[in-house]
């Protein structure tokens, strides 16, 4: 058989597999999306199938995404957008409701620019976690229910297009690579490469496209700056830890010890005023395998709103391979432009909105009720399409709708906790809330 025969035979694999892979959106950290197998893939595809993909028939080669930013948005909490449909008052995932067009918003309210709510980009599946008990899920959120009056909102300095695809500034990314190399103490010459369209490719008719990443390679380390404001530092060979430390993803205490060591060892690289060790993960696959805990450091300096921003916008993911450190994944969000401190809802107000159906979610099931909420967090979302980084209340809610559960997981006794979001900024400061068109297309 020839390789071309095999390539062509792949063309006829199951549609579900093609969709599953094509749905995988460019993602930095997306470890908590439930991606069911073939049977449920249809459901997940259906969730996204009713909404748009990035506009007209542009044929510029960009990473495939069957749809870009598809979300189920149930009604809206924005005061400037008046619900006018029965579905807006009483959302039902299987009913069709016309899109509510927002009225023209004022440019500012109380001196603060009105914020546009971003679409949520997603991959195949939906955002949810499997566990036997919600306490098994690591809770790294610095907010523990405190009442806050305001939260800072930042301008996203590198928003992507409607598909979330970002084209970077090559010189700026190379400067980032060199800065990180300097912080690491790399003394050897860096070999710089990027993935921009080459002159040879353009000469052949390829569409010119700027770089998505710029990479610097030196002995023992590879530093990659991505256009979506993240930086990957990969060590080759991986870094051996001192004797006695165990980079064991199943042992929270051991991981925390490793984190405390690494935050000192890489203090210059991390450039955090007050690095805080934290763990994420702890959920299960639908086959019942528990995922390892993920070790993170975040900048916990400042007051609580700043700590929350640090947790979500200035963090580092430390990855292990055979008890060694082989990768540090850094947020590199440019937070230089703070739009303002915005008045926010209380958790109780946000919960009320959630229970009234005013939420954003990728979960293919209606919010099942207040008594099903198992966790509330206050956090920032970082959609590539977002114009702003703004705070949201994130509710983990136990769902048992067949559209959002997996038979195998249910048989094992695993529960599904779906993520539902309510923008934390008060409604009078928001506009452009995408309104679910009521169609799950199932």
């Amino acid at each position: 058989m020839k390789k071309e025969d095999l390539f062509e035979s792949l063309n006829d694999v199951k549609d579900e597999y093609v969709s599953e892979a094509g749905k995988t959106a460019p993602a930095k950290k997306q470890s908590h999306w439930l991606r069911w197998g073939a049977a449920a893939a249809c459901v997940a595809v259906a969730v996204f199938a009713g909404t748009r993909i990035g506009g007209p028939a542009a044929v510029t080669p960009t990473p495939p995404s069957v749809e870009s930013g598809e979300v189920a948005v149930s009604a809206q909490p924005v005061e400037s957008v008046k619900p006018t449909t029965p579905a807006a008052e009483s959302p039902k995932p299987t009913q069709t409701a016309p899109v509510v067009e927002p009225s023209a918003p004022p440019a500012t309210v109380n001196g603060l620019p009105v914020l546009t709510v971003a679409d949520f980009s997603g991959g195949m599946g939906f955002e949810g976690l499997l566990a036997y008990d919600p306490d098994e899920l690591a809770d790294s959120c610095p907010w523990k229910g405190e009442t806050l009056e305001t939260m800072p909102v930042y301008k996203n300095q590198a928003p992507g297009d409607t598909a979330g695809f970002v084209e970077g500034d090559r010189d700026a990314m190379e400067a980032q690579v060199r800065e990180i190399a300097a912080r690491l103490g790399v003394t050897g010459e860096l070999t710089i490469t990027d993935d921009a369209t080459t002159p040879e490719e353009i000469a052949k008719g390829a569409t010119p496209q700027g770089p998505y990443y710029v990479r610097g390679t030196a002995e023992g380390v590879e530093i990659t700056a991505y256009a979506d404001q993240s930086i990957q530092v990969e060590f080759d060979p991986a870094v051996t830890l001192p004797e006695g430390l165990r980079f064991d993803e199943s042992d929270a205490d051991a991981l925390r010890e490793v984190g405390e060591y690494l935050k000192e060892e890489y203090a210059e690289l991390l450039d955090m005023a007050e690095p805080v060790v934290t763990l994420q993960g702890g959920d299960y696959s639908f086959r019942g395998d528990r995922s390892g805990l993920d070790l993170y450091l975040y900048d916990g300096a400042g007051d609580l709103p700043e700590q929350i921003a640090g947790h979500d916008l200035k963090s580092a993911h430390l990855c292990e391979d055979e008890n060694k450190l082989y990768l540090i994944w850094l947020d590199a969000y440019d937070l230089s432009e703070k739009v303002g401190d915005y008045p926010i809802l209380t958790a109780e107000e946000a919960t009320d909105l959630l229970c009234q159906g005013n939420y954003i979610t990728t979960v293919p099931a209606e919010m099942p009720g207040r008594e099903k909420i198992v966790r509330t967090e206050l956090m920032y979302r970082t959609e590539r399409t977002a114009e702003y980084f703004m705070p949201y209340y994130r509710f983990l809610v136990e769902v048992d709708d067949p559209a959002a559960t997996n038979d195998g997981a249910v048989a094992l006794g695993l529960k599904t906790y779906g993520a539902y979001y309510v923008p934390a900024v008060r409604g009078e400061y928001l506009t452009g809330m995408p309104v679910w068109n009521g169609d799950f297309n199932i």
Partner: protein, 186 residues
């Protein structure tokens, strides 16, 4: 527009089907073709061919997953065009690299069974893919179905390139073993 409505437009022989498809899936199909074909003009022509083939296929076909149906048409058309280009020494690009990797799974010789039962092979590959983890399957298909560069696969999965490269290598080896055990003349 919902997929069912678009499909119905084809069945109704409504010419609005094509602009509706192009608006919703033009970018997606353009990406599928663009990963295989280096020329923007070729990509555009290939995508337009896709709409024509879709028009000819529906009816009688009524796809359950319209995007996958369209992507398959596009990939097939793009690869045929790529082979023609290669014959004129103008092929290459990412798909050539992906093919070289797939070469590890096959002998490179013409099959003794001149007419390989492609249906049986595809069914076996489906079974093989079903047994992979979701991540392995997505990475395999992003690389060898969508012809995505490894760097892009890594970004989509949130993993380092070396990890993806190793994973793909293991999956290719598994595929070769799997098909050999089932008697395919590789």
């Amino acid at each position: 527009m919902e997929d069912e409505r678009i499909v119905q437009l084809y069945w109704d022989r409504d010419e609005g089907a094509i602009p509706a498809t192009a608006e919703k899936y033009g970018r997606y199909c353009g990406t599928v073709a663009g990963n295989i074909l280096p020329s923007a003009q070729d990509v555009e022509e290939c995508v337009n061919d896709t709409w024509l083939h879709a028009w000819n296929a529906m009816p009688p076909h009524r796809p359950q997953l319209l995007p996958a149906f369209l992507a398959k048409l596009t990939r097939n058309l793009a690869f045929n065009r790529w082979k023609r280009e290669r014959a004129q020494k103008r092929g290459g690009g990412e798909v050539a690299l992906a093919l070289d990797e797939l070469a590890e799974c096959v002998s490179g010789r013409d099959s003794v069974e001149a007419e390989l039962d492609r249906g049986e092979l595809t069914a076996a590959i489906d079974d093989f893919l079903a047994a992979l983890s979701g991540q392995q399957r997505r990475e395999f298909l992003l690389r060898y179905w969508y012809a995505e560069p490894i760097a892009a696969v890594a970004r989509r999965e949130g993993r380092p390139e070396t990890a993806v490269t190793k994973s793909l290598s293991r999956t290719r080896q598994k595929l070769r073993d799997y098909l050999t055990e089932r008697g395919f003349d590789l």
